[in-house]
Amino acid sequence: MELDFIHKPAGHCENGVTANMFRFYGFDLPEPLIFGIAYGMFFSHIPFVKLAGLPVSSFRTFPGALFSRATSTLGFKTTTERFLVEENAMKKLDKKLAEGVPVGCVVGMYYLPYMPIEYRFPFNGHNICIVGHDEATDMYTVSDPNCTEKVTISRKDLMKVRFTKGGTYPLFGQMYWIDKAPKELPDLKPIVLKSIEKNCWFMTSEPSVIPYFGCNGIDYLAKQIPTWKDKLGERKAALNLAQIIRMLEEIGTGGAGFRFMYGAYLQMASQITGENQFKEFAQRITAIGDNWRTFAADAATIFKRRKDACTYDHVAAQIAEIGKLERQFYADLMKVAKAAR
């Protein structure tokens, strides 16, 4: 049994699952629109939360927040469930599939059989959508936004990825689905304006005593980088930097990618609201995304130990500059969004 589910790849897993589910219920919304409406852009660098001994940075909002914000804003009724017993988690999944409901699952990357071996990291927080179950072979059909086509996974492996232990985030077989779709979408204009305001607020409102989140987090990272070499030694400093780039560019987090996605959102926002200034802001955030990419390329010269390597001070200055640009960007954007309401 396989649902009539159109799979499209996406830049980010949770947006992608949400977009594919919306399409199943007859609403073909582009990924950036969902990302924007759920005000998904964020930044955090938390030195004491570690993944494989290296600090975690994130360029997006918390796992699960995107789906719940997008669905509740647009009038979808949804359910999220967590389980203590693995067999119950699978039974419930089978039941929902039999009812013809595609089910989103939060899974660990480590045991996903179709991932390249190099990507088998203990990262718990990937999103996939289960869209079919073949009783004869006990294989499940998976729509994974990181894949160009649908893939399959055995029952044993699926159970394993839903309950992978350790890593960043305890899993408890978390699954979510849409119970009821609205007849038609609400008027998007006020929703878009509000979402932009909220996203700006999340990036700029944190008091400076909490240095880890929003634009503060970017400034904080800029201050930390030059200290790594003395504090941690050459090897660990290079590893930390490589880790930032992985978080910046890798599956599941994509930093510069989110800036570009937000640019795409602002272009759509301009069309939806008729506010032309959003187009200029789209260009500004595109330039900021390009800065993030330049930073990544320069940082790579350090951890690859190239002869013409940049210095830690150089890349730190790049980040400090990005921090300044982003802070100004959100402040200006907030004003325009408020005025347009």
Binding site: A238, A264, D290
Partner: protein
């Protein structure tokens, strides 16, 4: 980023269905979704981390050759696990996992336990029993 600048540096994604998707601007300044096969900068970052893991494993590999620790200790490190994660994911008690890190204890393991460890570490039983020659 412009559409024509979207990197297509295939490395780790080669031969898989996994791919990246980027948003980039076309010649009219409009955003488009573009598939990407990968980016060298990204692959270098990942390779740096993998090389470091390899370096950390080398002394353990030597210890295995001297029969001081079991091959399980090597493969645990190599496959980015620690004793807690290995115990939790295999369902084998932590106390026992620790014991199986000893070379002689590991040699006494039955096929079922070996298969469990191999599955947990995503390798074959044959790989689990030995360490690479280098």
């Amino acid at each position: 980023m412009k559409v024509e600048d979207v990197p297509q540096d295939a490395k780790f994604f080669k031969g898989t269905v996994v791919s990246d998707m980027c948003y980039a601007v076309d010649e009219n300044g409009n955003y488009q979704a573009v598939m990407s096969k990968g980016w060298d900068v990204k692959a270098d970052a990942l390779q740096t981390v993998l090389d470091d893991v390899e370096e950390q494993c080398e002394p353990i590999r030597q210890q295995v050759l001297r029969h001081e620790v079991s091959p399980l200790a090597y493969h645990m490190e190599k496959n980015l696990m620690d004793i807690d994660m290995l115990a939790d994911n295999s369902g084998i008690a932590k106390r026992k996992v620790k014991k199986h890190m000893e070379y002689d204890e590991f040699q006494k393991l039955d096929q079922e336990t070996l298969e469990n460890y191999a599955y947990t570490l995503r390798i074959t039983v044959d790989e689990l029993k030995t360490v690479p020659e280098k």
